[in-house]
Symmetry: C2
Amino acid sequence: MDEDMKDYTSETDQDTSTLHGEEFQTVAFLAKSLSDENRLRILLCISQGKKAVGSIVEELRLSQPLVSHHLKELKRSLLVTTTRSGPFIYYELSDFRILEAIKALNTVARDLLATRTTF
Amino acid sequence: MDEDMKDYTSETDQDTSTLHGEEFQTVAFLAKSLSDENRLRILLCISQGKKAVGSIVEELRLSQPLVSHHLKELKRSLLVTTTRSGPFIYYELSDFRILEAIKALNTVARDLLATRTTF
DNA sequence: TAATCGTATCAGTGATTATTTATATGCTAA
DNA sequence: TTAGCATATAAATAATCACTGATACGATTA
């Protein structure tokens, strides 16, 4: 059961210099989670601390079903975790290094746009 | 063959700690380019050096129109540049730091899968 | 119990996209 | 000019996805 993703044994050192096999799939899956502007806003929003859905809705001025939809997607990619407290459901980042990855993308993006010759 | 890597001294102070405004859009756009398994394979493929379309087709065993389609998408996101030499069109990475971003995503993805509580 | 608040889910729609097959375009040599 | 190779593009399909509006679910309180 649970054949979505595979587990790794972390006994030996992993090769971080290149991707192989199913890693292309997992990286693509993770990148897809970051490929939506609203999801990025949500991630940055809850990076300040765990927040309930209503707070995110209010802060980002998005509809509640839309925020719930994106949070579900972020949870599916394991980027966020939830904790219930009464009627509130708090969402928080599961790994803050995703912020470093986002910043790396931002740096590259800014440079690509800056050094662009045409336009 | 010269690698045109650049030094990055900030001429204007850039805020790398957070995203604001249009940066969400550009990061999402860049992430979308990385959100496809075949495009990641293509990027890693040409990271070994500039390659013609036929070489990529052969190496990745994808159809030629599919490779051309993805290369067009990668060019649209400024991740690759082209050089024509006779009938051949060579594609190469425009910024090798995208590999670092991909590796960062891979590390996070591997950790998310590893530390996941399997119910 | 009922009522209310917070959140999730359902159904539908329009837009985007990955892929295939077929065709067109561009370059070079004979 | 022709033929032939390398690459791009067009057309069609199927799948995915972001978003909206409506509704359902769950927890708390009266």
